[in-house]
């Protein structure tokens, strides 16, 4: 069958985009993988391993696996620091690519986790070039502009982490030891251990606040983000594993499942930590960069005060910043929550536009495992759409 003429554009180089690209490449389809930032792997590549004595099935390492496969696959052409300027349709898709702007607030040097994937260090400010490694690549040298013709499009542009500053009373970015779950992943990933930002010391008493930005009627965020309970509990167990003396309190509404082993895992969590079914509202600074919160006791409803070394805000998955622009460019719709709408509530990959498919969190909250499965499904649908068969 004539497979050599088929080409697919995948927008987004996170776990969903990587998976879709790799699956398509297995069927001899050429893939143009467009990534706005200068690294592949998206959010998930920044996550740390949370294994205790055993793997806790967070899936962070499977992102590494997929990244390695993609960068060694010649049929996948990666365009870093690149975005879609315009797209028109005349049977196939005509895409105009342009260089994307360097992210603001990067202090001139970006370092990535995409180990074998060049570049590892990118300078956005030429004045910083000397300070960075001699292997550093300038942002200006990256990026593709020009025209592409593709037969189908996979949108895998992902999510944005909920901006914890929108919940002002928690004092995120005001108090150094109020961090988000994503910050905590990066701390563990870059430093190999959980430490307080204020002094680099291991915190002894830690609070996790669940549902920050999710299940929040006042914000209009009427969805559960799926991932926050799993990552918070896994991280909490990891902290207990490293330091059995650490005291952990989890403030929650409803604890969501991790994986098949959840009942046993949850029993262990309840034995090792304190669970309070109450979401505190205010954080007050105390001496030594410690933080105090007031909440209601589960057992008798009395108001309690407790002080912590570190507070972790379990931020959720918010719709991608580019979703509206992407929907307009592709002439597809957003759903009620601001994610891109699938044409069918059960299939969830096809859109109202023939030849345009969704993969991963661009469609709604998903775990790493669910994003991989969704991207595989999208690739399968693309292959059926293109009528490609494997020899």
């Amino acid at each position: 069958m004539a497979t050599d003429s088929k080409k697919v554009m995948v927008i987004g180089g996170g776990i969903a985009g990587l998976t879709a690209a790799w699956e398509l490449s297995q069927f001899d389809i050429d893939v143009e993988l467009i990534e706005k930032s200068c690294f592949l792997g998206g959010h998930a590549i920044q996550f740390c391993c949370k294994a205790t004595d055993e793997c806790v099935v967070c899936g962070a390492c499977s992102v590494e696996d997929m990244l390695k496969k993609v960068i060694n696959q010649p049929r996948i052409h990666v365009h870093l620091a690149t975005q879609v300027a315009s797209i028109t349709r005349n049977g196939a898709f005509q895409v105009q690519l342009e260089k994307s702007a360097a992210p603001a607030g990067s202090a001139g040097v970006l370092t990535g986790y995409s180990k074998n994937n060049q570049p590892l260090i990118v300078t956005t400010d030429p004045a910083q070039a000397d300070a960075a490694s001699k292997d550093a690549v300038a942002w200006n040298d990256l990026g593709t502009s020009g025209r592409l013709d593709v037969d189908a499009v996979v949108l895998a542009s992902g999510f944005q982490p909920f901006d914890a500053r929108a919940k002002g009373t928690y004092g995120y970015q005001k108090f150094p030891n109020v961090v988000t779950g994503l910050d905590l992943e990066r701390i563990k990933r870059t430093q190999g251990a959980i430490v307080r930002p204020s002094d680099g010391q291991a915190p002894k008493k830690i609070a996790f606040i669940q549902c920050v930005g999710s299940r929040d009627e006042r914000l209009g965020n009427l969805w559960c983000s799926h991932v926050c309970c799993p990552y918070a509990l896994r991280m909490a167990q990891d902290i207990k594993h490293a330091d059995p003396e650490a005291q952990i309190t989890v403030f929650y509404m409803d604890i969501q499942n991790t994986n098949k082993n959840f009942p046993l895992f949850y029993d262990k969590c309840r034995a090792d930590m304190t669970f309070v079914r109450n979401i505190p509202v205010d954080v007050y600074p105390e001496d030594g960069d410690r933080l105090r919160m007031r909440f209601l006791d589960d057992a008798d409803g009395t108001a309690l005060n407790d002080t912590f070394d570190m507070i972790v805000l379990s931020i959720g998955i918010a719709p991608g910043a580019d979703n509206a622009a992407l929907a307009e460019a592709m002439e597809i719709e957003l759903n009620a929550d601001g994610f891109l709408a699938a044409a069918d509530a059960q299939t969830k990959t096809a859109t109202s536009q023939n030849g345009v498919f969704l993969a991963g969190t661009v469609e709604g909250p998903r775990t790493i495992a669910a994003s991989i499965a969704h991207a595989g499904q999208a690739a399968s649908d693309v292959i059926n759409h293109l009528g490609v068969s494997h020899d």
Binding site: E54, S62, H226, I372
Partner: protein, 519 residues
């Protein structure tokens, strides 16, 4: 390297004729493969997409009772009534449905007109919803089990149906509300907006035997709350089909607790089992909402297309068996985690190059050293060990056997980020820690290494499931042998890391270096 051309049978067996099984059959048939769809029950409703498809052959009241062979060439025995038929298939899809399990026993209740299961309520709402007019209906959910989004969605949808009926009142007693699926938070809100009252409890309420009184102590209001519903709806658990335990045994599939046919191993997502050519979808692998099971269907279609192609595949041999050395002891057959070794007609073991993952566990376990892994033969590895142990020229010299899936990656990352590493550290890449023989470890010491590390994946994260377990056993045995020889066993370390644990890898190495300096 020897490339082999292998003929693949392109028929596919799908086990289970529920929604996911039917969708799988249709999708696989659409890709041009013949499908045998079997189900233990009679299937009253088979959609046209399946029944009218001449590539799909449906056999009802049929069970799989035996299977031999490997991916591309399975021989299966199917039993329909009292007749046994043999079929050859290239791949299998396990697509059994979930089974509903009423949990009234856990609440100490007997079912009656006023105490009913979720399934009975669903039937009532479909057949005669008017019968519920004016009634107070209470649900108990998530208090007899750790619930899940599929269980919760049934409750939330039933509540919205009840709220369409005149004069109904709804109460829900719940543990953790499992809203982690698309749209559930909105369904939950819609029910509450229309008056459903939720009590979130951590313990089961006190329920009278006829269900007419449900009481608990509210800690916030500091009082007992008792409600007298007309109808009490008891949650149901969703369990793997009864036949999955037997399927796991017949097909040599690693099953999880509850007999789901996939263990929680990140390398198996989404639809793989421990055996090539045997895939698992939907309720056969986990409790999942319909859209997630639908994703499995797309994935399994891809995997089958990739495996079977047009009926021929070219593969490189990955493990080579010296039949002259083989004593037919069956060790390899038993220890292969991928079921890649089968018995050929001439009574000798054959390693299928299609199913083999080249982990090397069999090669290390074989008492006759009759199996060699391509690119990782004993001679190759021992030569590397000797070179690494003697070439560092720095004291202490540490030889680290690193699994290529985890430790070797972590080591590369540590080097890329300029993390601290002992100057005398030398790596030996192995396909899986399960390939590290005791002989390799002892050879490293004999060649002059001051320390040896075997670094594998975490428990539960091994691509070959048990490679790290074998490695741990062998290191323990080698430590015993070192002690007998008068050496300190702390010179030999077994550790586990993930591919992204550069820091931890660096620390393990540096710690061993410090330890050796102490000794």
């Amino acid at each position: 390297m020897t490339e082999e051309q292998i003929t693949m049978n392109t028929d596919v067996l799908v086990i289970g004729g529920g929604l996911t099984g039917l969708q799988t059959a249709a999708e696989v048939a659409q890709n041009g493969y013949r499908v045998n769809l079997i189900d233990a029950a009679d299937l009253p409703q088979i959609p046209d997409a399946v029944s009218a498809n001449d590539r799909i052959d449906v056999m009802t009241e049929t069970c799989l009772i035996g299977a031999t062979g490997v991916a591309g060439n399975f021989n299966v025995q199917l039993k329909q009534n009292d007749q046994v038929v043999q079929k050859q298939v290239g791949a299998m899809v396990l697509a059994t449905d979930l089974r509903k399990q009423p949990l009234h026993d856990v609440y100490g209740l007997a079912l009656s007109d006023t105490v009913i299961t979720q399934s009975s309520l669903d039937a009532l709402l479909a057949d005669n919803p008017a019968a519920l007019a004016g009634r107070t209906v209470a649900f108990v959910v998530g208090l007899a089990q750790e619930s899940n989004p599929v269980v919760l969605e049934r409750v939330l949808r039933a509540i919205l149906e009840i709220q369409k009926i005149d004069g109904c009142t709804v109460y829900v007693y719940t543990g953790n509300l499992k809203v982690a699926a698309d749209g559930l938070e909105r369904l939950y809100k819609a029910g509450r907006d229309q008056g459903a009252t939720y009590f979130k409890l951590t313990e089961r309420p006190t329920i009278s035997s006829n269900g007419a009184s449900v009481a608990f102590h509210d800690p916030v209001l500091r009082r007992d709350i008792e409600i007298a519903p007309d109808l009490l709806v008891i949650e149901e658990a969703l369990a793997a089909d009864d036949m999955t335990a037997q399927l796991a045994q017949t097909l040599r599939i690693d099953a999880s607790a509850g007999n789901f046919l996939q263990i929680d191993n990140v390398h198996r997502y989404p639809v793989a089992t421990n055996r090539e050519g045997i895939y698992v979808v939907g309720g056969a692998r986990d409790v999942m909402p319909v859209p997630v099971a639908r994703a499995d269907v797309g994935n399994v279609a891809l995997r089958i297309k990739q495996l079977l192609g047009k009926g021929e595949t070219r593969v490189d041999a990955r493990a080579v068996l010296d039949t002259g050395k083989c004593t037919f002891c069956l060790t390899c057959f038993r220890c292969c985690p991928h079921g890649a070794i089968y018995w050929a007609a001439e009574n000798k073991p054959v390693i299928s190059p299609v199913a083999c993952q080249a982990c090397g566990i069999c090669a290390s376990e074989c008492p006759m050293d009759a199996i060699q892994i391509v690119d990782f033969s004993d001679d190759d590895i021992l030569a590397k060990v000797n070179e690494r142990a003697t070439s560092a020229g720095v004291e202490p010299t540490i030889v680290a056997f690193c699994c290529q899936n985890s430790a070797f990656e972590a080591a590369q990352m540590a080097a890329t980020f300029n993390m601290r590493m002992p100057a005398g550290l030398r790596l030996v890449k192995v396909p899986c820690a399960g390939k590290v023989d005791i002989e390799y470890i002892l050879s490293a010491f004999a060649a002059g290494a001051d320390g040896v590390m075997v670094v594998s994946c975490h428990t539960g994260n091994c691509k070959s499931e048990r490679g790290n377990t074998y490695a741990g056993w062998r290191v323990a045995e080698a430590q015993r042998m070192l002690e007998e020889a008068g050496m300190n066993k702390d010179r030999l370390v077994f550790a586990t890391v993930a591919s992204n644990m550069a820091h931890e890898f660096s620390k393990i190495c540096v710690d061993l270096e410090a330890k050796i300096r102490e000794l």
